[in-house]
Symmetry: C2
Subunit: 259 residues, 2 copies
Amino acid sequence: MNDTPTEAPSGRRVQAVQISCNILEAVREMDGAGVSELADRLDRSKATIHSHLATLVDNELIVKHDDSYEISLRFVDIGEYAKNRIDIYEVAKDEVDRLAEETGEVAQFMVEEHGRGVYLHKASGENAIQTASYTGNRKDLHCTALGKSILSQLPDDRVDEIIDRHGLPQRTENTVSSREELFDVLETIRERGVAFDDEEILKGLRCIAAPIQHPTGDIHGAISISGPTSRFKGDRFHEELPEVVKGAANVIEVNATQV
Amino acid sequence: MNDTPTEAPSGRRVQAVQISCNILEAVREMDGAGVSELADRLDRSKATIHSHLATLVDNELIVKHDDSYEISLRFVDIGEYAKNRIDIYEVAKDEVDRLAEETGEVAQFMVEEHGRGVYLHKASGENAIQTASYTGNRKDLHCTALGKSILSQLPDDRVDEIIDRHGLPQRTENTVSSREELFDVLETIRERGVAFDDEEILKGLRCIAAPIQHPTGDIHGAISISGPTSRFKGDRFHEELPEVVKGAANVIEVNATQV
DNA sequence: TTAATTGTTCGCGAGAACCAAACGGGAATA
DNA sequence: TATTCCCGTTTGGTTCTCGCGAACAATTAA
């Protein structure tokens, strides 16, 4: 009845591959595990788990330390490849570093994938306060300034699709929680060219982000700076910093087109 | 006839999982690919490839852009997790950054996995010349100063095992190429506490590394600085820099025990 | 010694995962 | 506009894989 234009969940799956994916996930969550533990948790026979693990070790996705199976560093290699596949990554990274240096706060860079936001780089300036996000971390798009910047670039039906899929879970009392409110906010972002996060994800934390208009348009990203409410207020919050962030986004756009 | 104590290739495998791993590898090498291309390259029917891809997309290991399948950024997330699983990672990273800053050259950190060396962090100082290595990159242990540092910490039979598995491919005329020569070199490293790479992997590039003696001993790593032969010579190469590198390794060891 | 854990191996039956072939859609060509 | 070609997707059917249960080996604990 409701077809999903992009990532359609149609057709057959391969059960054996699904089991291996479950194993990978479990090994990560358990921070390393043995055959029996995994068989127990995933409700499969020990023999099944064993042969899957052997295959995963062959392919170096899992590493065996004594009798404990763990996530392999091979993922670092592939992850690095995945990052560099994003053509604006290098430029964005440099710009994030510069932003952090210049403002003394935390600067970050995010792109969209699977309807969620993925942090790809983070730099801390001199006065930076540490936030929970880390490279590779995934967050729903509606609850951060970075995410809302990204949403503001997407066509309305795509935004609807993403809400259908992930909902609008509320993080604090300030989180956008209704569809109409969200669309209003997105409109404002499009007008101003910047998005704000006023303690919507964490009390005491404010954030300013700007979308990166990608020339070819298939990758959607945003760049931000965040800091404590005590330093993010008045003109600095409403005028100065937004201009700085917009400038950085612009630099990325310009440099990306030259590639 | 020859049993391999650690990572033993015994028991059954799961063919379907192997196919998916091959798909992941191919997608990466082809830098994104379609169903037919993959079916062609892997000698499988389109239907098979299709159902595998659907499963991998479900698990967000692959992402679909129009009709092209690509490596997902999910690998960044898992890779970051894998790095942080190494307990000396954070300390080593800081120390590498400091080394690069202090010397103005390139500093790196490597650990062993699957009998090969994995670069986990790299920092460039002011005068740094760029090397081909990148985070996540894998290299045979015998041909870098970092790798030889690691080998020098391993028991002889483990070293034999690794040579059996990966051989001693020669990169330049200076690469260690015989088993006896390697064991001699390792002995020297153990005596001095530092390893040298004198244009063994690349002409004009020299490197100094020191092993990191891990307190619990299950993870083996090393730290290094590298630069052009023109700056890496005389006392600086033979005395000053080795001391600096050994100092850094020592700092990591001390801080690691405190965790 | 016994008992209770592990990880590992093996035979076997159910059903999953392959393949081939057909289908539907878009683009390039005629 | 019609034709052709190549793409991704779907489906039916058959084979052989894969998952299970149970036995085995090797540790550790009682």
